[in-house]
């Protein structure tokens, strides 16, 4: 699924938090929205999925203008918070969100086993989520996002609080589903993760400072250090 973001402007009260944002995300790519906290990454993500309105501009996904309910069955959204029900087991959480996507019966069982394997929670699926650690909750949250095998993934800081080994596993899985044609839009402020992506846009104070392939962005830095991306255009 490809995404076109055209001239998006968003205000909170009188503050302009997104200014003339335009970008294209090609199908089957991992696109990274990079920026410090408060730069507008989450707001842009929520506009793209149709949760909130933009004062100006439009978002088009696969030729359909957002918001569009039919698109939602093909989108997997992972919010910044864990967004889980603590009083349910991991399995019941998965079952609930799968049910909302009409994924039931053996399809659900197969999908659930697969995503639990990816996030390393197969042996913990019958535990109540309130007994999970922070990292386990984050992993379960990702599993829920993947349960209906979406064609577009919108991930808001997906690997915060996840240990390096598991983070590697998750990125490997994301790359695997990218090969199968899934488009992935991920927000992050972790510089290392940019290297896992095909394309990155750097957001600062509601403006896109840079938007290019990761390769090109790195070559624009003086010594190829990814940390420098954060400071791109700062003196301009």
């Amino acid at each position: 699924m490809n995404i076109e973001v055209n001239q998006i402007e968003k205000y909170f009260q009188k503050n302009k938090v997104l200014n003339q944002i335009s970008m294209t995300i090609d199908s089957g790519k991992i696109f990274c929205l990079l920026g410090a906290s408060g730069s507008g990454k989450t707001t842009l993500l929520r506009i793209i999925m149709g949760a909130i309105n933009a004062e100006k501009g439009e978002v088009i996904i696969d030729g359909m203008k957002v918001p569009n309910r039919t698109l939602l069955s093909r989108i997997g959204f992972m919010p910044q918070n864990d967004a889980l029900y603590d009083e349910l087991t991991a399995w019941d959480n998965l079952k609930f969100f799968a049910g909302l996507q009409k994924i039931e019966g053996t399809t659900f069982i197969e999908n659930a086993e697969e995503v639990l394997q990816v996030v390393g929670l197969s042996n913990e699926k019958k535990k109540l989520v309130r007994n999970y650690s922070g990292g386990m909750k984050k992993r379960l949250s990702l599993a829920i996002t993947l349960i209906h095998q979406p064609k577009l993934l919108l991930l808001d800081e997906p690997t915060v609080g996840v240990d390096p080994v598991l983070r590697k596993n998750i990125w490997n899985y994301l790359k695997k589903i990218r090969e199968q044609g899934t488009t992935i839009l991920v927000t992050t402020h972790v510089m290392d993760e940019v290297l896992e992506c095909d394309h990155a846009a750097l957001l600062r104070n509601g403006h896109i400072i840079a938007n290019d392939t990761v390769e090109n962005l790195l070559s624009a830095t003086t010594d190829g250090r990814i940390e420098e991306l954060f400071f791109l255009g700062e003196n301009e």
Binding site: F77, A83, F96, L100
Partner: protein
């Protein structure tokens, strides 16, 4: 919608604290009220003057009796001698003097009235004098309809409101709305889920009140349950509505004085027709008014379905309107 309903039921089953708040807490509070306001095994102290011997003997079976040789003139006699009532007789009939309306005087009055009915059922009723007039009735029997409605409303409102705030705060609501489910289905599932649990609470409260606490219901117990179930669905919707204006659990609690206390004012605890400046007319926009009035008519007056239909209709209209507002309000979280 069924997904949400099932999820809420499993969630509540695994959340013993909420289950206790919803099912056990109202019963404990009602039991406490029963002992505070209801009949106890208190033996009233009655002073008698110029009463028939047979009458006094009958009274002695249920009360401790002091026989007076002259009728006390001072108002302080009752208080100073810890006497609950004076029963005396003259040419006009039996008179009963009580200090004020309270549980003790009510008990004394009941003993005297029972004796009257037993010994002289067809004779003229006794003349009752209160030294100090108050509006208290202090009988759980006569106020049970108020407490049933208010207590149930309070606990359901709190639980459903808090749950909805938590859904928003933890972003589970946002995640839910990022699926093809409609806003109607979300509110429908939510109302049904918590409504069913609250309905169980209503049935439990009524059965407990009637069969364990022994509160008298003049009319049909089934009708009381029906009123309470409708009210619990209403309380769920009210909770969901006010949760929209709360950003966290604390803010939800801050709504209690604004939402719950007016409900108490219009629940029948205070006579609505005595409220000045036409403020009594606000009762039409206070949901508990419909519940309390319907319960009053069934429990105290023994009225049937036809008599309470207008109040049930009022409750249904409230539920439908609140449901619509809640569906619309979800637009804040998803535009479609």
């Amino acid at each position: 919608m069924l997904c949400i309903l099932k999820r809420i039921l499993i969630q509540i089953k695994n959340d013993k604290r909420s289950l206790g708040l919803l099912l056990i807490a109202p019963l404990l509070v009602l039991t406490l009220l029963y002992f505070i306001l209801g009949d106890s095994d208190y033996t009233p102290h009655i002073a008698v003057y110029s009463m028939d011997k047979a009458y006094v003997e009958q009274l002695e079976e249920k009360a401790s009796i002091t026989k007076l040789t002259k009728l006390p003139k001072e108002n302080s006699y009752l208080e100073e001698n810890k006497v609950d009532a004076i029963a005396w007789k003259d040419s006009k009939g039996i008179h009963i003097t009580l200090e004020r309306k309270n549980t003790k005087s009510a008990k004394a009055l009941k003993v005297i009235q029972n004796t009257n009915e037993k010994l002289a059922p067809m004779k003229i009723s006794p003349v009752i004098h209160y030294l100090y007039e108050t509006n208290d009735e202090n009988q759980l029997d006569s106020l049970s309809y108020v407490f049933l409605g208010v207590l149930s409303f309070f606990f359901v409102f709190l639980l459903s409101g808090m749950s909805f705030v938590r859904e928003r705060f933890s972003q589970t609501l946002e995640r839910m709305l990022m699926t093809p489910i409609s806003r109607f289905e979300v509110i429908g599932g939510y109302t049904l889920g918590y409504g069913i649990i609250s309905a169980v609470q209503s049935v439990l409260i009524i059965l407990f009140t009637v069969y364990v606490l022994g509160i008298h219901v003049e009319g049909s117990v089934f009708l009381c349950i029906l009123v309470m179930i409708l009210m619990s669905f209403l309380a769920v919707s009210m909770g969901a509505l006010f949760s929209i204006f709360s950003n966290n659990e604390l803010q939800m609690v801050q709504f209690i004085p604004i939402v719950i206390i007016p409900q108490i004012f219009y629940s029948g605890l205070i006579p609505i027709d005595t409220i000045p400046l036409g403020l009594g007319n606000l009762k039409y926009i206070i949901p508990i008014y419909y519940t309390s009035t319907a319960l009053d008519k069934v429990m105290i007056e023994g009225k049937g379905l036809m008599d309470i239909t207008p109040f049930l209709t009022g409750l249904v209209i409230f539920i439908i309107v609140l449901f619509g507002i809640n569906v619309l309000s979800l637009k804040k979280y998803r535009r479609l």
